[in-house]
C-alpha cells in the first residue's frame, strides 16, 4: 500500500527539509521505494541537503507543465537505489502549480512508489496548500520554542480544516541539558499544548550540520544521536512500536560533583 506523507511546520528553519531527507533515506534503507518531492518552488533546498544538486535536469514544474515525462524528472540517488528525488523549480514561484496538479502528481507517483514524502515550504499560503493537497497524512516538525510551537498549532488547525486528521509530531533540536535545568520545554509540555500524537524526538546534534555540509543524510551515521532518533522515527512509520530513546547525556564531572553535594 502506497502512502503520501507531507512534512510541514508553519515556521521556517525548524528542520523540515532535514527531516524529509532523513526519513526518506531511512525508508529507502528499509527496502521501501521512496520518492522525495520538494514542494518549495522558488526556494529549493532538498536537492543540496541530499547532495543531488548537480544532477537536476527537469523539475516539478516541468512535469506539471508537460515539458517532460514524470520519469525524466526523477533523480535516482546512486547511494540508495530505492530512493528518488523530484526537485522543485528554482526560477518560478508557488503559483506556478495548483493543488489539483499536485493531487494528480501524487496519484501518479503512488503507482510507482511505496512512500511519497513531500517537503512543504514554510508559511500557510499557496505553497502550503499545494504541498498538502495530495497528502494522506502529515508529519509536523517543531522545536521547543514558543514561536515554533505556536505556528505548529496553527498548522494543526489548518490541516484539520482541510480534513487531514491525526497529524504526528516530531520535536526537533531538543537540548536535554536545558530541559533538565527547566530552561526548555520538554516533550510532555509540548504534547500537552498541541494535543497530538508524538512520532519522535530528535536531539540537537552537530552531526546534522556536518552531514548537510557534505550532502549526505545523517541517518547513515552510526555515532550521531539525531541519526538514532531518525532511525526510530522510520521504524515507527513502518508500524513498529519503538520506545523513545533516552535523552540523558553521559554523567559528566559536574553532575558527579553535584550528586556528591546532594544538589
Amino acid at each position: 500500500m502506497s502512502e503520501v506523507i507531507v512534512v510541514t511546520s508553519g515556521k521556517g528553519g525548524v528542520g523540515k527539509t532535514t527531516t524529509t531527507a532523513n526519513i526518506g533515506t531511512g525508508l529507502a534503507l528499509a527496502d521501501k521505494k521512496v520518492v522525495l518531492v520538494d514542494a518549495d518552488i522558488g526556494l529549493r533546498n532538498l536537492d543540496v541537503v541530499m547532495g543531488l544538486e548537480n544532477r537536476i535536469v527537469y523539475d516539478l514544474i516541468d512535469v506539471t507543465e508537460g515539458n517532460c515525462r514524470l520519469k525524466q524528472a526523477l533523480i535516482r540517488d546512486k547511494r540508495y537505489d530505492k530512493l528518488f528525488l523530484l526537485p522543485a523549480a528554482q526560477t518560478r514561484d508557488k503559483n506556478a502549480v495548483s493543488p489539483e496538479q499536485m493531487r494528480q502528481l501524487c496519484e501518479e507517483l503512488q503507482q510507482d512508489f511505496d512512500f511519497v514524502i513531500i517537503d512543504c515550504p514554510a508559511g500557510i499560503e499557496q505553497g502550503f496548500k499545494n504541498a498538502i493537497a495530495g497528502a494522506d497524512r502529515a508529519i509536523i516538525v517543531t522545536t521547543p520554542e514558543v514561536s515554533a510551537v505556536r505556528d505548529a498549532d496553527r498548522i494543526i488547525g489548518l490541516l484539520e480544516a482541510a480534513e487531514m486528521h491525526n497529524p504526528k509530531l516530531v520535536v526537533n533540536r531538543i537540548r536535554p541539558q536545558m530541559v533538565k535545568k527547566g530552561d526548555m520545554m520538554d516533550i510532555d509540555d509540548m504534547i500537552d499544548i498541541l494535543a497530538i500524537d508524538l512520532l519522535g524526538v530528535v536531539p540537537e546534534d552537530e552531526h546534522i550540520v556536518v552531514s548537510t555540509n557534505r550532502g549526505e543524510p545523517a541517518i547513515c551515521n552510526e555515532q550521531s544521536r539525531a541519526s538514532q532518533a531518525y532511525r526510530n522515527i522510520v521504524r515507527r512509520i513502518l508500524g513498529e512500536n519503538v520506545p523513545l530513546m533516552s535523552l540523558e547525556l553521559e554523567v559528566g564531572l559536574v553532575d558527579r560533583l553535584k550528586k556528591f553535594f546532594g544538589l
Binding site: E145, V146, V149, R154, G157, K181, G182, D183, M185, D186
Partner: protein, 93 residues
C-alpha cells in the same frame, strides 16, 4: 552560602520553560478562535439556544468576545434580556 553554591550549579532561579508554557497557553486561546471565523458565531447560537429556555433575549444586541488580562482569558458575553419566562421558576419549588 548555600545559595551561592546553588547559583554556581545553576539551580538558583526557576527555569524559563514555565513562562514559555504559560505565554503559549494564552496566545493559543486567541489563535485557535481565529483559525475558524465561524467559531464565535457557532458559540453564540449555542448560547442563545440554551438560554432561550429560561428567558427571552435580544439576539441582535448580543455581544460575545474573548478578553485577556496578563494571566487569564475570559469569555465575555453581553446578552440583553427582554423578559423572563414564567416556566423557568417552576423547577425551584
Amino acid at each position: 552560602m548555600f545559595n551561592i553554591i546553588n547559583r554556581i550549579f545553576g539551580k538558583g532561579s526557576a527555569g524559563s520553560k514555565d513562562i514559555a508554557k504559560e505565554r503559549l497557553r494564552l496566545v493559543l486561546v486567541h489563535d485557535r478562535v481565529n483559525v475558524s471565523p465561524q467559531f464565535i458565531e457557532i458559540l453564540k447560537e449555542d448560547i442563545v439556544r440554551s438560554i432561550s429556555t429560561y428567558m427571552e433575549i435580544d439576539e441582535k444586541g448580543m455581544e460575545v468576545s474573548l478578553a485577556s488580562s496578563n494571566s487569564s482569558v475570559a469569555l465575555i458575553a453581553n446578552i440583553p434580556v427582554r423578559r423572563m419566562k414564567r416556566g423557568a421558576s417552576f423547577y425551584n419549588d
